[in-house]
Amino acid sequence: MTAEQADLLAAAKTGDRSAFDELVRATYAEAFTLAYRLTGNEEDARDVVQEAYLRAYKGIRRFRGDAAFSTWLYRITANCAATYLGKRTKARHEDIEEQTSLADERPEVDPAQRADLADERRRLTEALGQLPPDMRAVVVLRDVYDLPHEAIAAELGISEGAAKVRLHRARRKLRERLFPLRGEGGEEAAHAV
């Protein structure tokens, strides 16, 4: 967290709404990205991230600062997404073609390398999108956002053991999709991560 964010956080904890709004501006893209990865579509991600910030605003006085503000926000977002996905009854829209590109556009990366990276990330994002939401949640929270098993279990409302088992199954599915056995995947195997 930057010094500026720490100041904003301290002010927000005293009830300063404009300071909290500034914190939102500084962090909403990351929170939205996490919500998008957990829900798999933009519309749901919008709802989840709105609810997450509302909960964060209501609970900010209780934030003790044991973890980084971003980690705290990720936990709230994960909890909101789990609740949202649990309640959701409408059909899921998982058309991978509609997903925002995650390609690395930094100019300092060699174009060929950038193309490989973009392809790797596209395939990984695609594979993540094909996982069931409960599996996707554990692998995203653990392997992308580095949340501890204990926190993941708490936010998803499952035991730590169940979270670890689910994580292993999710990783296994991803590995099987990204590294198909020789002869089975053909071109897919040649492009494995």
């Binding site: 939102v24 990205t33 998008y36 933009e42 709105q50 995650l102 590995r175």
Partner: protein, 121 residues
Amino acid sequence: MRCDDVIEVLSHVAEGVEPADPGVRAHVEACLRCQAELVQYRKLLKALHHLRTDVLEPAPGVLTGILANLEAAGERGAIRSMLAGRRAAYAGGIAVATLAAGAAGAIVLANRGRRKVRLAG
């Protein structure tokens, strides 16, 4: 130890957070298939970790929506606290009126008692 036993823990071994069981380690050192899977898990975890730096650019309406939602919640909270204040004022008024009525009733009863005593005297 067999591949089927080891395969269940390979992804956690690849993560490297917990030390691998000596039996698992010995099996992997001797088994090419498990070694290959371990390498694949390591590549997978590395690729997943790299996704962390990919931050999407949300549509402009996302920020506006979050701030509007907070604003609306703030207004709802203000209205609730105002209503709660009024409710407290009403309850206080009723309590004061009840107390006043009770006190008046007690005074009337006390006066009647005194009159009866005087008449009897």
